[in-house]
Amino acid sequence: MSLEALVCRLAPYERQVMANNAQEATHDPTHIRNFSIIAHIDHGKSTLSDRVLEMTGTVAKRDMKDQLLDSMDIERERGITIKSQAVRVDYTADDGQVYQFNLIDTPGHVDFTYEVSRSLAACEGAVLVVDATQGVEAQTVANAMMAMNANLEIIPLINKIDLPSADPDRCREEIEDGLAIPADDAVLASGKTGEGVHDLLEAVVYNIPAPTGEADAPLRALIFDSYFDAYRGVVALIRVVDGSIRKGDRIRMIATGVNALVEEVGARRPAEVPLDCLSVGEVGYLVTGLKDVSQVKVGDTITMAEGGVSEALPGYREAKPMVYTGLFPIDSDQYEPLKEALEKLSLNDPALIWEPETSHALGFGFRVGFLGLLHMEVIKERLEREFGLDLLATAPSVEYRVHRQGGEVLSIRSPQEMPDPGEIDFIEEPYLKAKILIPPDYVGAVMDLTVQRRGVFTTMSYLSQTTVEMLWEIPLSELIMDYFDKLKSSTKGYASLDYEFEGYKPSELVKLDILLSGKPIDALSFIVHKDKAYDRGRVLCEKLKEIIPRQMFEVPIQAAVGGRVLSRQTVKAKRKDVLAKCYGGDISRKRKLLEKQKAGKKRMKAIGNVEVPQEAFMAILKVDD
């Protein structure tokens, strides 16, 4: 039997595997398709990506792990993507030609908006995934807007059509009305069953344009992600825009001005396959041997060290933290290990910034800046899990600008840095532009909640009969106070939220101190709007009373502004703890019980002689109005 005949008899899946093995992939830019899959969180993006890999034979079915592209444990557990990924897939289309697909998976959370924008800049097209049971949500809109801003061709895909509550017609309407994207030809698919994935692959071939770029021009390549590999140095994910790059080239990063030697280039399938060269239009990885990830920044442009271009690709920006929190080791012996762990994590995360901080209550630790609350939670969890640290995080704060009498401006990231009220002329705080999508029934609820949080209403418009878009200006400090949870609960989970930085505005802010047994606890103080100080102080005292366990003595809790006490609660002294029989067989049990109690205490921090549990420092986030 001829080889051709054999191939014809094989199922399409095996054909694909053979095509891969034959390495028929072309470097002809007309047969390259670079695209991304974008979606609101939980709309099934990762599952769909997995199905694409499986159906193109890139990953054999038996090697499929759910959500293959999310490689970190935390990503898989939380069902979110934190780092960008790029996977090369060879697809034999119905026209018999083999196409090189580069599928770029972008982070799926508002905290990582900038990374998303750079990943999109590496693409010509995007698949917009909309959950057939949920319809268009806030990040669907935000991501579609970003894709349109990046001039991408958008293929709408309605996912989860296998679910009984799927409503593809409503989705189509919302995509057309809300996003002005024609949806008649939207692909109907199910990442779970694999239905419609073939249609998607064909749509990618026919609807997404091939990359354009000058093969003979000097090298320009976009870095859309980078990370540190202990054995190879910094590895970047790049998209070649003009020219080509090969092993041994001397290159230069335009924004950072750093030179490096190309030690390896290649593609991910998803295992890394080294190649001679990445040429115009291609996406792949680049091994630099550099030691510091901040030398290879997301959004920067690579060119040749000799005879390269001087003009960078547009869109580069420094990643800037929005939220700051104090991280303190519960056991002071872990200060150095914490420092080393932060150093290791920041090798891979240029958005993670930190500096030493000292607290009277908590001792030595670090003030760490994050892109957002999710970023913060993820980093804290990784520090605890991967590095075995026991950490205490103080309530997140934002960066305030304090204008002193006499004109000096201070940037403060921690309430402890706040000068005395007498020295302050005025204070500015960061505001966000927030976009909230809700069904019309909840407009009133969102108004109430957001005005309470000092939000300023901008506009409102109907995206469709069932979706209202509200725009607000809201202080970042209010947003990080469980605003999102409150928004979700006051709209029965329908609301979705997206935000971007707006700017600094003057605000009447004061520092609220919390005192335990009469002593101010710096790690519990926070900055609050003057009009809210009383309520927040009162509620926080009540919360702390619940959280702080009874001790051997009475513990008064007070909230005060500038020495004036606003509120007081008392944790009564403990009169008795567990008293059980302790005869022969009970002694072993008693030992275990006491060990458990000790482990519980390890999660607490002794401040003076008061044992304060972790949650106390986060209580301010959970303050109901």
């Binding site: 051997m552 403990k574 008795k576 703890d577 008293l579 302790c582 022969g584 002694i587 006491l594």
Partner: protein, 370 residues
Amino acid sequence: MPHDSYKALYLHIPFCVKRCGYCDFATQAVARDSSLIDEHVEDLCLQIRRKAKEGELGEIETVYIGGGTPSHIGMSRLSMLLYTLSLSMRLEPDVECTMEANPESLDERMVRDIWALGVNRLSIGVQSFDDAVLQTLGRAHDADAARRAIAVAQERFDNVSLDLMCGIPGQSVESFAASVDDAVCLGVTHVSVYPLTIEPFTRFDKMVARGELEEPDDDVEAEHMEIAERILVEAGFHRYEVASYAKPGFECRHNKAYWTGVPYLGLGRAAATMTQNAERRMRVQDGVVTDDLDPRQMAAEDLMLGMRMSEGVSQELIDRAAVLIPRMSEVVDDLVDRGLAFRDGDRLKPTKQGWLCGNELYGALLDLAP
């Protein structure tokens, strides 16, 4: 391993007429005529014989037959057990031999017969003299039965102990105080007072989780414990352990063995055995090693257990521990500073506060050698 002689023997009878709502002991509700009980008693007798032949019972000074409810298994099995015991070790009046009994299964004949067979101390599970409270607990007896059982016991035994429980949902201060008063009036020589603890997987645990039962309140329990002490001390009892009160000379020697690092042998399912020499202490239960301690841990444990008793621990014991544990004196000073312990001559003793917040006190001592 070569080990110090056992001084205390515990025999476990894991059967009851019914299981009480709070109970998480190793016991089961089994009908009195069940062959399970026969098998268990026969097995116990064989184990006693074997240990006797191995020479492990030669220095036993106290015996405790506990449960479950030993009185539930009836006189014929008890006589077989006690007869085997008297053949296997020296069961003279100077050896303290306690048996637990519940009011519903203790009668005149049993009292006379076990007395004749060498039992010289009876511990009766009364819990309360308030019928409503007994019903909450799910006990098989009422207050009258309890009074009758005590009177019957006192016909032969002058060493009779009662268990009382406090902090029971629905139990008022008055109800509890009345039960303590009753114990005093009935003329028993020993009383144990325990606050109700909700143990995991018990019926009470489920009821608390479902909101059908109020969780015992620490403040109420603390108040009850204080009332018990006031009444009993006034009546001439001495609080020799955090939960144990005795008339002079009636302290339970067997229980004191547990708190003073004396090696004990336990026979019968779920009974714990503590075997030790100068280098090592092991506790074994159902063939499983539950603790394996080195000399430092032994020293710390002896201090922890010793502080359950009003006499506390001697300076000599502390000094011996200090040789192994350098921060010993620092921890003792801290306990005294925090009002959990006080020095009395050459002894360190627990304060009232130290007893009430026992986990603080014991935790600090156990933590000397984790």
